[in-house]
């Protein structure tokens, strides 16, 4: 699948922050990764007693959160496309 960046208006007339930049089309869910990065920076800055190795801890937090959400998405996919059709046929 070729990622298609969808802009609501042509780039030349686009006014940043006033007009939406648009989502990434079918890959809109990738925008969850910068969301997790922002949350983890703010969380790690306040939660940890020491801020030594701060960026490493942020990286690990982002990886764990992304993997957890990805796993949850996989479970939901299997449930919707595998389990529910089986339940409907029985």
């Amino acid at each position: 699948m070729i990622p298609s960046i969808v802009f609501s208006t042509p780039m030349l007339s686009w006014i940043p922050f006033l007009q939406p930049a648009g989502s990434l089309g079918n890959l809109w869910w990738l925008l969850m990764i910068p969301l997790i990065v922002g949350i983890s920076i703010a969380y790690r800055a306040t939660h940890d007693a020491s801020i030594e190795q701060f960026w490493w801890r942020v990286f690990m937090f982002v990886m764990k959160s992304t993997l957890a959400m990805g796993s949850l998405a996989l479970v939901m996919y299997l449930f919707v496309y595998w389990v529910i059709p089986i339940l409907r046929t029985t």
């Binding site: 006014i15 939406p20 648009g22 925008l31 920076i41 969380y43 007693a49 020491s50």
Partner: protein
Amino acid sequence: MTNDNDQLDEPLHWGAAFFGWICPGLGQIMLGHRRRGFLAMTGVLGLFLCGIFIGGVDCVDRHEDPLWFYAQAGTGPIAFAADWANSGLLKTGKVGELIESPPSNPRAPAPLVSSFKTVTVASEIGTLYCALAGLMNVVVLLDALKRRPIDKGSGEDAR
């Protein structure tokens, strides 16, 4: 480094919490935790500005999305500024143009909306970013409320 008991004994820093609401991370900076404050500021303001960038200022709307705005208002005056930009620039047609949208009641006149208004997933994601920025700033200012100030010259965390 403080343990939990030390932090429980710590008096509440209402001034730091208030300035933390005015500008995310400022509470920690006032208490001497400069690096911690700037990092928190980076996280919260980064989230908020990313949200506005993705969905436009239409993401912050005090009148149309009041529940979302309660969360977004945690970011501080910047959320009110975005709401002002939305209602003062977009909704009045000073920027962009006002176009008719289908009325919910066929007998009512067609409402005018800004041509910059979006109803796509970009708007939803932008709204989510700004709301989570506000909620994270509540976490940050609660931390400033109970964090032990650093004495000048101790050097701890004050980079």
